[in-house]
Amino acid sequence: MELAWYALLGLFFAGYLVLAGYDYGVGLLLAGDADVSRRRAALNAVGPFFLGNEVWLVAAAGILFGAFPVLEGELLAGSYPAVATALVGVILVTAGVQLRSRPGSGGARAAWDRVIVVGSLLAALGWGVVLAGLLQGVPLQADGHVAGVTHLFTPFAAATGLAVVALVVAHGASFLALRLPAVEGDRLRPLARRLLLTAIVAVGTAAVVGLFSDRVRAAAQRPAVGVLLAVLLVAALLAARVALGRRRLGVAFAATATALALPVLLVGATLWPYVLVSTVEPSASLTVADAAASGPTLRLLGWLTVPLLPALLGFQAMCVWIFRGRTDGRAPVYW
């Protein structure tokens, strides 16, 4: 039962990284494009999906609180600066994307676009550091509380944060290549391939820093799984690069999407059966089962929410289906 809820938590957080990942990627790409109409085209390519993407985070946080209350408190409070950074980023992107086209003047729009760029950067960086923080273990004391927040500031956390930024930028570019009108999308392909190369280098660097980090080596319960998934991650990025070269844009997008989901699986599987590994007191480490809510709560949530899962995913699929294909002159413009 705990495993099922843990998997569901992973599904929603990975879904958030995949879906909002391209929002943030598109947001970051605004920095490299001075053309006003191209910026607007890029944001409206995300258009109808934007609100639905962002709420995967809300759902993940809901599952975290409902099904893993102890983990919720310790993880969030124990990674305070990283979570707060990510949240500031999420808020800036949410407000920026939805409000940028509401002022009349071009100057105000350019300012909002800078807000979106900064927000996307902070969100990707923040969640990357949160994931790295899990993987390198936390100073969980015998009383069950994480002591201090300085444990986050390590080379591995910084490298992972930057790697997630590089991942979302490449993912955003591969989304736009698939979604923008054919001419525009084609123009982005060389850029997307270069960004994928950067992402491969960034992910590789983070992996190497992780391998040399004592804390990561000590925290990893299944290092082989971790290494295998990291290799898969790089392979997905290489596959995306090849697919872009052959104009297989759907395949490329699927590959970058996989690359954004894999970090979540990597952290979950490498630490299993633990979720918070203590760096100071081995017996204080928190297993998934200990972090979970008690039986009656999980059963209740199961009865109430699991039957609704098909509806949740179904309405998201409906949104994708309605607005499928490339944007064109008939596509609605609102953001």
Binding site: R38, A59, S101, A311, G329
Partner: protein, 417 residues
């Protein structure tokens, strides 16, 4: 500096800003459902224009509702990790249900509604707005279930210092829930209705174009607000019984409260178990505002032969009354939340055990940072709302035909944009 005080201030700031926007969201979406239904049923173009104009304001307002909502959700873990540790088994359940069945679907539907204009069949498009409204109300319900549990913990037993869920239906029949939910929902309707009436009054007073359009929304807004204020008063006074019953200390000293305080002193040690005076002073002002807004009924007869517009001064009254429901909302929440001090979960979990053990400096930077950020965004959002309200219903961006050149753009867009 005191981490606990800073965490409480941050919660108060975030929750206040959140509710100012959420109330408008709930109120306006209800009225929008009516307008779009009228459009689909009658096919009358006027209803489409009303839906677009008020829908645009609704969508702008929604942005801050979602932004502050995300901060609220994460704040429980960031600042109040003891809350999830000791009572998360019970309190977390309604919150998890809210995010999955309500918040998640609401945003998914709204994204499709905004971009579905001219793309979906009218019936489907209308159904999406119904989806948005139903999930918004579901969201309010589950949040109030969670909040009522903190006001009056029920349906649990404590084993090893941690609360476990034993009786979920008890959460739904919590005496702290029913009347409060009605009070909050009708207050949201009052806010939405008065906002609509006041903006329409501004246009009618300025004699801008679209007289007929704003005449209609003035009538809808005023009648809604008048009906809602009566409900607000009814549900409000109906709460004194049940809330006083489950929270004897809320409204000041009485024999029951003294007995309870003696019991708490024995179990939790000596302390100040009465809430600060702030909560009841706020309550008094809120009740005054409630009575003042009851006078909205005096304006309703003036709808006859448009006397309300011809006399002009009732339009001014409506515009001047607009801040009142917002002030009352904040005061009401202060009475409810501060009134249960010093408890996070009444009689079960004191605030000092719930606050996260983080350094005061970290908490202070979080408080200052998030409050400045959300405050700035809130003000910006209101400025944008005011500008769009003043611009009128000529051509809102919401629901504009894609081929049409956008009127509010500084330069024309290429075809694909």
């Amino acid at each position: 500096m005191d981490t606990l005080l800073l965490a409480r201030l941050q919660f108060a700031a975030t929750a206040s800003v959140h509710f100012l926007f959420v109330a408008v969201t709930l109120g306006l979406v209800t009225l929008l459902v009516g307008m779009q239904t009228a459009w689909v049923v009658t096919g009358n173009h006027r209803w489409e224009r009303l839906t677009r104009f008020w829908g645009q304001l609704y969508v702008i307002n929604y942005v801050l509702g979602i932004a502050t909502g995300i901060v609220m959700e994460f704040q429980f873990g960031l600042n109040w990790s003891g809350l999830s540790r000791y009572v998360g088994n019970v309190f977390g359940a309604p919150l998890a249900i809210e995010t999955l069945v309500a918040f998640f679907l609401e945003s998914t539907f709204l994204g499709m509604w905004i971009f579905g204009w001219h793309r979906l069949r009218r019936g489907v498009h209308l159904a999406l707005l119904y989806g948005v409204a139903i999930t918004a109300y579901a969201s309010a319900f589950w949040i109030m279930v969670a909040n009522s549990w903190l006001q009056n913990p029920v349906g649990y037993e404590v084993r090893d210092g941690v609360a476990h869920l034993t009786d979920f239906p008890a959460l739904l029949t919590n005496p702290a829930l029913g009347m409060a939910l009605g009070h909050v929902l009708s207050a949201a309707l009052l806010t939405g209705g008065l906002l609509m009436a006041a903006i329409s009054a501004w246009h009618l007073n300025r004699r801008t174009t679209d007289h007929a359009l704003f005449r209609t929304s003035l009538r809808i807004g005023l009648v809604t607000a008048a009906l809602a204020i009566t409900l607000v008063q009814g549900f409000g006074f109906a709460q004194f019984g049940p809330v006083g019953g489950v929270q004897p200390t809320k409204f000041g000293g009485n024999p029951e409260a003294d007995a309870l305080i003696a019991d708490w002193t024995a179990r939790f040690g000596p302390g100040d178990y009465l809430p600060p005076a702030l909560s009841n002073v706020g309550l008094g002002f809120m009740i005054l505002i409630g009575f003042a807004l009851g006078l909205l009924w005096l304006l309703v007869p003036l709808l006859w032969r448009d006397w309300i517009i011809r006399l002009r001064f009732p339009l001014w009254l409506l515009m001047l009354a607009l801040p009142l429901p917002f002030v009352a909302l904040i005061l009401g929440w202060i009475a409810r939340e501060v009134g249960r001090h010093p408890w996070v979960a009444y009689g079960l979990l004191p605030v000092d055990q719930a606050v996260s053990p983080v350094s005061p400096w970290l908490m202070a930077s979080s408080l200052v940072g998030f409050t400045l950020l959300l405050g700035t965004l809130a003000v910006t959002n209101w400025v944008l709302l005011a500008r769009h309200a003043a611009r009128g219903a000529a051509d809102p961006a919401l629901g504009r035909r894609p081929a049409q050149p956008p009127a509010d753009d500084s330069r024309p867009e290429p075809a694909f944009a």
